[in-house]
Symmetry: D3
Subunit: 305 residues, 6 copies
């Protein structure tokens, strides 16, 4: 009986956070072990369902590096990276899309829908949602987001579902592009006017010195994060995440978080407890010295035939 | 840190119950110490707010016996009961309404609104919502529910608010009636097609033998509850509650609960944990031998000038 | 038969005024004998119902001074005024709210609903509609309007009902404040963007010299009214009314009227006949020399948890 | 001043009738002197506008016999009647439509719109609203209503306007038919589920003996009206009106009225005073011995290309 | 079989034009032989129906000169023109309206509705849609558009119908005005924010030299069209059309077309094939040197009683 | 110029078919060469876009046998069929889903979206849309449709998009099932209440004797098709198609078509020309001797968590 009262007290403790987060949109970049470990995947899915039911609008964005590499190796396709980006031939692009849209996306949709008919998987080329352009000719079908039309995502949210988005884009040439999922998450958060964007990864957050595990940073400002992008203080894997954080904050997102997705219920701890975990970046767009053309261009709702 | 993970696990434990209750309407008869003790009142208000934010539509119904008696005594008005019902002269009715609508209702509205603009207090005579007829000429302005128009309550719910209803009714003679709040809660649950009705009281539930505190009943069927109404097995204070439970179940409400409101977070424990507390009554309307004219007549939405 | 034709002609005469007023919102401060005299109350209620049915959206605001004093005296509580404002201890505030919300409000709601399910009574603290701050520490729980959230009032109007508002406010300390109903009426008219605000009182209007009953003023400008506030030309009871008129006109309300509510059907005569009665104040906000921070701050629709 | 109070009292006297009629649909067959006399036309238009503004949904149906005859004579076309019905050659049909749709309809629309943008004129062939079939080959383009699609009329009402309908119909052969406006009014009332249908004519109502002006009937039942159709008790001009009344009542319309439109404000007197004028027919569809296939077939909302 | 494949290929050829025009509003001034020749009328009606079904919102505007003259002559009324405009006495105005609203409008409505319940005919004075003022006292009831309220037209479109508008206007004196239909079409296109306005006439378009049939102009700019208005290069019948084109383009309409309506399916050829026919005028409002008060004043949606 | 007029005439010829099909839902089973041949795929995509723009609501369903086999062979997975159904191990199911959802679906979405943002790809497990159960334990993850929730499909249609559905289903065990796309198309048509279902294949339709190419059947009844299912008159590949046709017709779909998708614009020819192509099956559900439990159970809109 005492145990029951303790539980009730803990539920009650979440009330202020539920009030604070109610009705907000949160973009979650899903990646790392949370994606490949089936048990973690189901745990993260349950967290997302709970967030949805208590009033948050989660939007999931994912890539799928390890699965892509595994299938490329099974098919004896060359696996090559330049500056951390996968060289993506047209043949590889076909496989990238199959793995992202047909496997990783479906796995997460299934994990969420084990709780009820809540998730709808979409690819970035559905209704030409994510437009992309080639990033570097040497990388082949690797693209960058050039515009986002949020019509379909907003419809899915307002219909009561959770959109799960595979990070491929539609090129003007009719082909697809393989886009870094961190970038897609940051741009999607910006285009949706989300309150926050969360990056699930396998490390505990940002380190002042990434060789020193005791130097974890709990919170930092936009400017501090921006300066880390240029000082070499960041691990290679963190560069696109921090870049996406800075970009999203620059476009009006209020907070960005980098969390360790292998911690059980990391999302809930971040959203619904006082202490929080991982690294939080906050910012004031007004104080930025970025030039004007860096401003986000969301072609939201603009549809031409 | 371990502590945080325990908390997350407990939040997660509530997921199945949140899923089950999401979008449902629950009528809560608020009474007893939970109403008069300010600290308990704030605790119950927080529970109600949490229920609202995680997807339930709570509807609150209250009476206010002790406060009425206290004010009557201050004004040296005679306090008299017949068969447990307050003899209510027209002068007393004015005071009853003042206390219910102007004090008890407002106190609960304030307790809820400490969390945000969520509660809207209404009296049973707003828009002639609760129509009543005299119960017994010896009791004066004591009434029984004759019809309920749920238009205003449903509008308040769909506008995103929590209705808090004082148990007075509108008579055909233009005057008000003092109605037992247990009855109002049962009828309101029936008229709204609520999933459940909960009676907050000061005892732990129904006892097989109300003299024997070890005989608490966790669950019983509709038929068993009905037979208790006639066998004298019930304490006097429980008679109207069990009568209202039977009536509500008869009209399609799925479950009725009698809880001890002095247990901290009793509402949450009932709704969001496995074990539950108090006494639960369930029923099948089809098997009932009640005669037809006992069927509820809700004039829902039917408005004549 | 001739009589019938005369009646039809008189109905017809009202057509231009019905056209002019159709669809407009009119805030009516209900007070004086019209509130305490039951026969007058029913007459005013009928006028309000007729206004509603022919296309106006009436919003009723009321205080309840005499009834409060009567109950305080019955309970032997001290009755004291400073500068015409009731000193309101926390104990008195409880009684003030009981009388306003539980008696006066209900009486008017009942009078209107004798014609059909039309009126919904609300208190200023429902959904934290009227926010208030303490006016003067010596007066205790006497407050001033600091912000109005019109969500609930507008919902009630658009649902087809007549809101009847008791002039209490919600303080940031969780307690209630007793607010002058004239002020509430003026601020509510401003927050709703009402076309006009009408003050029902017991005198025929404003007098150039309030000692000289022959000096009744039919119409005056905003500037003239404003100067009367400072020249001592106004009776004490008129000061808050004229102040509220000036404030409402300053915030965009087109016309303010001060009427004698003891004249049968004074509201109809004002709204639906050529001649009108009482005193009308009109104004041009643009020409005002008031400083900027006097501008109304309506937190309409802004709801934070 | 006394005069003002008398007026207010008379306005107040209309309250019960306004309440009773509020939100109801009333079909008005406009004809006789009220149509040809410009002064009467403006008076009737004002009555209709007043009805609209105080909550009734008037729907106007008109023919235009005298104007048609006048134009036919100006154009030296033969004017011939068989059993009271105008023989309508295709050439005459063109003129009939011009006069009904282009003159009579427009004159009434203009008279109403002198009060504001309220009336929208439509012909029975707009959107194939009134489908008609030939009545009698000897009569040429004289038709009978075979089906009514109320889509356009209901849209006009819900858009806040007053539909003014010229009694022509669309034939399956692509041509128009000239339909008796009394029949159109009765069928339209039936198809719309109107509360009442009113026939404006030049006599005071039905007479027990139409030669005896003292035998005016104030009220009669459906069965009595039906029997008058066969006993020869009716004047020729009354036959189609009483037939349309019986038909409309048979299809669920509650009341039919035959009024003298030359009485100033006859419509208002009928709707908003106690005494009423003219003849009222009421009925109970259930008691009728008519065979089933007489039941109305409204193809309401059914649109095929 | 080959034939079928050719047909499919031609349907396919229209895809780019259907995509381009989908969801756009096109105002069509219907006139000339297309109006008086029954076979052409049915052909144009079919074109309009096809346009509607494939996603365009056509709005039809028409006059009716020849039919008016014919009826005036039959009635031996004087037919007189000043500067190409019909002198319109009040008696003539009655006939003008009868012919336009009761004959020409109905004929086109019937031709369209032969395909299904699609067209709703309205006159410019329905709901005071087209307000007009007298153009020249010598011309009597000839008017100019002073304001357009598009409420009724937009309602008809959004209800799924095709509005067919007769070019009469409502004067402030309660009477009607006869307005040049070219002007009405141009102003209506401007008020609706239409994408294009098309003038159906009996010649192939504009000629550089109207005496030289080989000098047909396929396309010209706004400025070129404007200069033709003053240089005398235009045939008299083209002056109001080109004036209306310039006016519409000046108010934001993107393109104006002058087509020969006697060419079978001229509308389809213009809208759905590459080559187009007739003369197209395009413009940039920004570069215009017209003075400010020439800007269109659409009282769209503004309804005062 | 003559050429232009011929084109217009052909466009006009499609009017009756556009009228007939406007607003209807058509389910298209996309398969065979039309799926694997890129040029044919773009041609079919253009046909679908044209159908959408002219008022039809196409819903696309696809499988992807050849691509699945090709990838299985590249990965050296065993390819085995039993009774024409692919033995699908859990490993194979992963690949099946990757190919269907990540490749075939995306290819068709891209082909359609080359015309604008029109197609949204979904898998049968999105929002648990298609529920499935195991068909035969020997076949592994091969499933049969047990229920369809059309919520997501209908939302996509009403948002203005074309749903493209990959034929995988969600099992109660949380895993996916590989379902025959013909069956999915038939069930989806039934669940949506579609007007027709079209099967695109590589042969010209049904043959009376499938060895005799001259025995093509243009039209047959439901009963005839049903009897072909049991007489062995059908080629193996036709069995599931004809079975799906019979099932869809049994559930209220009006017509089923089997077309040769390699014929250019076969969809347009079927929908928009008189002659039609392929085989059409029509039926009357009422006359069927099928037992009751064969009736379709669409859990449309029924969502339980």
């Amino acid at each position: 009986m005492q145990d029951m009262h303790d539980k009730a007290a803990i539920l009650m403790e979440s009330l202020p956070w539920i009030k604070r987060a109610w009705g907000r949109t949160v973009v979650i970049k899903y990646g790392g072990a949370a994606m490949t470990d089936e048990s973690l995947r189901h745990s993260v899915a349950a967290d997302i369902v709970l967030m949805k039911l208590v009033g948050i609008n989660p939007v999931i964005v994912h890539g799928g590096g390890p699965e892509i590499t595994a299938y490329m190796e099974r098919l004896q396709m060359p696996v090559e990276f330049v500056d951390g980006l996968r060289v993506t031939s047209p043949e590889a692009m076909e496989l990238v899309k199959m793995v992202l849209v047909g496997k990783v996306n479906g796995d997460l949709v299934s994990a969420i829908n084990a709780h009820g008919p809540l998730a709808v998987g979409i690819a970035g080329d559905d209704a030409n949602m994510i437009r992309a352009t080639q990033k570097d000719v040497r990388l082949g079908r690797v693209g960058e987001v050039s515009a986002i039309d949020t019509t379909v995502v907003k419809n899915i949210i307002s219909d009561g579902f959770i959109p799960v988005i595979a990070s491929v884009g539609a090129g003007d040439d009719g082909g697809n592009f393989n886009i870094n999922a961190d970038q897609v998450a940051g741009e999607m958060a910006a285009a949706l006017g989300a309150e926050k964007v969360i990056f699930l990864t396998d490390v505990d957050g940002l380190y002042a010195d990434f060789e020193d595990k005791s130097s974890l940073i709990s919170a930092l400002t936009f400017e501090e994060a921006e300066s880390m992008l240029v000082t070499g203080a960041l691990a290679a894997g963190m560069l696109p995440k921090v870049g996406a954080c800075v970009r999203a904050l620059h476009c009006g997102v209020e907070r960005a978080h980098i969390l360790n997705g292998t911690i059980p219920h990391a999302l809930l701890l971040e959203v619904y407890t006082d202490e929080g975990i991982g690294t939080m970046i906050t910012g004031e767009a007004k104080s930025l010295g970025l030039d004007d053309d860096a401003v986000y261009t969301a072609y939201e709702g603009e549809v031409t035939l």
